[in-house]
């Protein structure tokens, strides 16, 4: 399965695209856990101080170009894309809420 990293996550990963093998029935949260294991700089960008994924707030994932939730099941050949929230709302870069 292909994962595409939008900036600035491509900097954390060192490349734009990564191919990963997941077992049948794996879901988005599992993929994200695997990615932060594989690329430690991603952990700071994608999780909070307690290590919880900030999916849907700090960053988004799409699967085959549709917004994905953490429990969405992935299939062989799915195309996943990660990108940060920006603009009127979220913080635009990695880091943690200081509260």
């Amino acid at each position: 399965m292909q994962v595409l990293f939008a900036p600035p996550y491509n900097d954390a990963v060192g490349q734009r695209t990564v191919t990963v093998q997941l077992s049948e029935g794996a879901h988005v949260a599992g993929l994200l856990d695997l990615l932060v294991e594989m690329f430690p700089p991603l952990r700071q960008a994608l999780t909070d101080a307690l290590g919880r994924l900030l999916l849907g707030s700090e960053f988004f994932a799409t699967v085959d170009d549709k917004v994905a939730k953490a429990d969405q099941v992935l299939h062989e050949g799915s195309s996943v894309r990660l990108f940060p929230a920006i603009g009127g709302g979220a913080r635009i870069e990695s880091g943690r809420f200081t509260a």
Partner: protein
Amino acid sequence: MVGGYAGKILEIDLTTRSLHETPLDYDEARKYLGGSGLAAKVLYDRVGPEVDPLSPENLLIFMAGPLTGTPAPTSGRHAVVTKSPATGIFAESDSGGTWGQALKWAGYDGIIISGKASSPTYLWVKDGDVRIRDASHLWGKDSYETDDIIKSSVGERAVVACIGPAGERLCKLAAIMNDGYDGRTTGRAGVGAVMGSKNLKAIAVEGSRKPSIVRRGELLENLKTIIPQIKEYMVAMTKFGTGNGIVATEASGDMPIKNWRQGSFVEGAGVTSGQYMAEHYLVRNYHCASCPIGCGRVIKVENGPYKTAEGAGPEYETLTALGALCLNDNLEVIMLGNELCNRYGVDTISAGAAIAFAMEAYEKGMISQEDAGGLDLRWGNPEAIIGLIHQIGKGEGLGLLLGEGVRIASERLGGLAPEWAIHVKGLECAMHDPRAYHSMATGYATGNRGGCHLQSASYLWERGPQAFKTAIPTMPFEWYEDRHGLENKGKLTVNCQNLMSVMDSLKLCKFVFNGRVGIENFANWTSCITGLDISADELMEAGERLYNLKRMYNVRHGISRKDDTLPSRILSHKRGTGGSAEFLPKFGEQLSEYYDARGWTEEGIPAEETLRRLGLDFAVKHLPVAARI
């Protein structure tokens, strides 16, 4: 030859129905750039403290920038500048869409309107041909209808800026709408009421005269790499609009909730987010002219009590003002509310603020159900939100009071009501909380048009180092990750305000920063387009000049430190829960640092040497006597 500019300004006196063209003074243009900067100079010279904002003597100035109507990314914008009936001081408002581009292509950098027409009127400007036309049949029509009717008369290629019924009734929340169902807006500070006071319903423009671009090849070469970069960084904005980050805004404590007195709105944020809208209601994106991002939403609610037309959807400010601020988690209500505000020609930020204010007054027993025309103004009640928008738009019932803005409404209600009127200098605060991003304390307090987030937009910089470095590489201090800290926050506001003044004058959209572009790019685009060699430093100095010019306009109207403050709720009440639960901005120290960095006195008055350094010698005579000693 200077490129970018059309080289002419159209002046129209509606009282005498006379018009003439003034050649653009290129020396002035280099000093004040264009857009709200150049228009501010006109206002400074011609509309003094003695002028009533709603009198024929006030000017209503529409101004494009040197980049408007060119391929520079996000440059399809124009400014409206006037003296505000809501605040009594300097007003500028900015809009995207295609109207500014059409104005430039019609052969004008700007239109200066004075006087008052004897009956409802609209202007039709096409390639240098200008007509003053009767608008009696348009009076009372909403902005979408007005757009349709004018286009059926002058042709579909025309682009219309108009007021709705709110502007006709001189409502102080009235906006000027442009681009019809696409709902682009110069929304803030009551500019629509000034247009209404002149009996001017609309200005339709069309043109085919694109401005020259002196170093076209060089510009296009630069854009070849910059545009893909902007698109890449801004995927979230393109996909989900400016509401893409609502969940994070709530989590960080930046989102004002329940009239700024609640800390969290977790579930409400999720179902009023840009993602939720994209999943359920998005028809397509909308791009302002020359914009590679396309954060605009075209939405439709097909059925049910909150059915909408296919048209402009709400962006972040509206989602929050008509959502969390009123404790409303019904996105369909927000979308219909947005459409109604657009149709009536009402600023959605101020409308949301006025409704939240009324809900609090109702909760505290100062407004009854009878006062509200039978509406039950309990927090989050959809019928109350929609009902009050109708009342404000039509100038009926409680809407008459709320349409004056929360400052005046609270003074009229009396008692403790001013405690929960959230405004600065009469302009309702936008949807970013200084308790979450402390630099916004001086950002709001010293905003030249009042409680506006876009005069500094410094919260964007408090969020991350990269945008900070790209936007102003010469920022005189390092970024540090403490949005609740005090260090350098006053200086940050100063630098951001100067940069925003540049963008408001060249006419660029503030969102373009998220694409990792900044002042160096703006200088490059401006130089390629105009053919003048304009450096980033020269632009930043122009930004500083413009901020001081607008400040001096306000100083002439009696503004000083006593007015540079925040609502007590933001200064001294903690949010209590969520991402900024325990934080209050340390305001006094920050403001002193701000004045110091500005070269202003401790009373907030630009020092004489500051004015002279910036080439604003003509303003020295307007310094208060005490500031000259």
